[in-house]
Symmetry: C2
Subunit: 290 residues, 2 copies
């Protein structure tokens, strides 16, 4: 834990436990810290090296056969700050070991398959940190709220997700599911801010207002999805996100904490170090042009 | 151009022109700057915002239909610093708009297709900066040097690459090909450094020494590939890379320069801003829990 910013373990405070009720989570709260905006930015910068060091070890050990990897699932209402999490937290990682997928509404080909078909193909390989901006949870969130799938199909999906994530976990995937939680007032302010800034117009999507009016139904769908799919091997975290600086520092802390659970190590070389040193030394006279 | 570090336009100084001879390029040179290691690191940090700003506009305009994108091809001898370029230059970009592919020796399936089959599938989409760590140039470098393909097949590939890159350019892909150029002495020192540091053992590949002894053949293959495939729509740049700080700052400057040629703009909104503002404002009273 960092020295000054965190007064409590964010990863524990934000982890969904028994009896979880979304309506009890205050989107404006900042559990685990008494800091403010400037402190949050400083903490984010300070812990970058710790995050990157863990990632590098995770990647390194996979080169010699370790299968562990991390999959982070980000879900939220529009304008809740997923993009900022990607650009301020995950951009701290080395590009080689990061696999980002931004899931869009399913294509015709994707709809012709089971809902997990397109997800499976994006599961990160050994040593890689996978990041899903939206995910298979859209299939029990917007699809439930807007009635895009029959209710018995939605019911089936909760169990299918549990089985799917269990299988990934058995194969070495540590799964972390994060809901960024904002208030409807905060969302309105952010949408208006996008409309007020010509450099942000491209981020505005008229469809967001149509989803916005279903807020209560979305919160119900989140509550159900979280309740039914949180598990020791694939926990949910609900991160208050009205304060962007808090959400970013908290997600960084959760990712660090989960990487620490994996506990990656520098791998032992599979070659004879002294012999290789002699081989390289034997070519030291090589010059070009000769 | 940045104020203090660059005394000349790196992108122009390093661009391959008529009569190019690789053996005339000094891997220890630092064309366009009188600075040193510390200045290079400072320049890299200082220009990060310019790079990211250009990337964001490129991405933004694609959301409203613009097709332009950038494809950066990195080729080099082992230990020349491709990884450092990715981790220090391209990691400055937003993950959403960066598509990195590290090409490995072709799989059995890939070998069963034409050599450009696996390349085509990794060409970046509109608005995205694609980065190839190795590429289709391996098919005229290692494959030529080691005789993995017959010489008439190697001959055929230069023309096929020209046609392929011409087609991409016609579709809005700005292609930039970069060779990081180190001396064989510098490579030996870097390989020995990897062997001396247990945290770098995982980066050491015994096969690198086997390629190393073919240095002259590799340089000949680079010379031919560069000569035969450099074009206005797909230029080659040869970057002296004995000094890592120089190579990183120079590649950053080349990428910035090429993005400036694309000249991306904030797109015009395809909606009525005032009307959308009124729609959002009409939902300002929304509360949850109600």
């Amino acid at each position: 834990m960092a020295q000054t910013f965190w007064t409590g373990e964010a990863a524990e405070l934000l982890r969904v436990g028994p009896g979880f009720r979304l309506q009890d989570v205050d989107p404006a709260a900042t559990p685990g810290t008494d800091g403010g905006k400037r402190d949050g930015a400083a903490e984010l910068a300070r812990s970058a090296q710790q995050l990157r060091g863990l990632q590098e070890k995770l990647f390194a050990q996979s080169r010699l056969g370790a299968r562990e990897r991390l999959l982070v699932v980000l879900q939220a209402m529009d304008a809740a700050g997923k993009g900022g999490i990607v650009n301020h937290v995950f951009s701290q990682l080395e590009p080689y070991g990061l696999a980002l997928t931004a899931f869009k509404p399913p294509t015709e080909e994707e709809r012709a398959h089971d809902f997990l078909w397109r997800i499976e193909s994006r599961v990160p390989g050994p040593g890689v940190i996978g990041l899903f901006d939206r995910s298979h949870y859209e299939d029990v969130l917007i699809q439930r709220v807007r009635g895009f799938a029959p209710s018995d199909e939605i019911e089936r999906r909760y169990g299918a997700i549990l089985d799917f994530e269990r299988r990934l976990a058995d194969d070495g995937v540590r799964i972390v599911k994060i809901m960024l939680h904002i208030s409807p007032q905060e969302q309105a302010e952010r949408l208006l801010a996008r409309l007020d800034d010509p450099e942000k117009h491209w981020k505005y999507n008229a469809g967001d207002v149509e989803e916005r009016v279903h807020w209560a139904s979305y919160m119900e769908a989140f509550q159900i999805a979280i309740e039914r799919t949180t598990a020791d091997h694939a926990p949910w975290f609900v991160v208050p996100a009205n304060a962007k600086w808090y959400a970013r520092a908290a997600v960084q802390r959760i990712v660090i904490s989960e990487l620490q659970r994996i506990d990656p190590r520098w791998p032992e070389p599979d070659f004879d170090v002294a012999a290789e040193r002699a081989r390289v030394a034997g070519t030291l006279e090589l010059r070009w042009p000769a």
